[in-house]
Amino acid sequence: MHLPISDKIELNILHQNSHQAEKNKVKFNNYNLLCLNIMSSPGAGKTRLLEITLEDLSTEFQSAVLEGDMTTNLDAARLEKLNIPVVPITTGRACHLDANMVSGGLKLLEKKINPHILDILLVENVGNLVCPAEFEIGEHFKVALLSITEGEDKPLKYPIMFREADLILITKVDLLPHLNFDINELKSNISSTNPKADVIEISSITKSGFDLWQKWISKKILKFKK
């Protein structure tokens, strides 16, 4: 038996995921395809947001969805009704999508459609405010949803998610008159965690804020495709 050796490697634990995420991004870029990673807690309204968004986008852009879910294809089935390409990714016991899963999803998408004709790929992550924030998937932008029924304190309780997001959508704002909720406190907590994030208030019931969200997406797609 030899003496112990210390190998100083200073290696990121997530480097394999980061490496795959970079490969995914190169693929997206080669396809000229903007990729958004949509994240939130369960029930914040991701799938409903996508249903409305995909319909609105369809007049101008070609979209596809990778739909992450732990155990079912229920959300994917909802989105398939819109006649756009949807690939369900069932993660099993995993509480987030990782870059490998998205790579697999992209391969399945390539069998369904030529990605060159697409403008935007929306990836709906698994409902969770913790792990999805740490795992890059190759996205160009991260979008985090936060519904007002979750409470004003969530950006402080789950700071990594809201720090990492490029855009934060405050959802279900049609419920404001019925709740004891201080939206200014929420916005202040968002600014504390991430002063650089764009913030849009949105309601899938009244459709308020959807014009701003669509404008945000259109701007990103057009800038990306230049």
């Binding site: 030899h2 003496l3 990121n12 700071p159 990594i160």
Partner: protein, 113 residues
């Protein structure tokens, strides 16, 4: 995260001839501003490697403090949730993060059989 750690160890061991080494310690640096709870990582790692080539290895974790930099006066500070992560010097929102996002294998202590 545990899976990523084990995969990183597998990758490292491939270059070392896994059959001829015993890993004694895996020394990690985990930032305070990450989604990793150190004790949970240790427990899940210990459970996951039972009976494997990493069974006898031990995880040590150096916690790296969460440190930010005030965008106005450039002073470094330790952001606190209770204070909304604001800089105590100028009461400004969290801007630059100096440290606390680390998720690293710093070093691996091993013996050759």
């Amino acid at each position: 995260m545990t899976k990523c750690l084990i995969l990183s160890m597998e990758e490292w061991a491939e270059k070392k001839n896994k059959e001829k080494i015993i890993v004694e310690k895996i020394n990690l640096k985990i930032g305070e501003f990450t989604c990793v709870e150190p004790i949970s990582l240790i427990n899940t790692f210990n459970a996951a490697v039972l009976g494997s080539w990493l069974d006898s290895s031990e995880i040590t974790i150096e916690t790296i403090p969460f440190e930010g930099k005030c965008s106005k006066c450039n002073r470094s500070y330790f952001p606190k949730k209770e204070n909304g992560y604001k800089s105590p010097c100028c009461n400004l929102n969290l801007d630059e993060i100096i440290s606390g996002r680390e998720l690293k294998i710093a070093s691996i202590d091993f013996k050759e059989k």
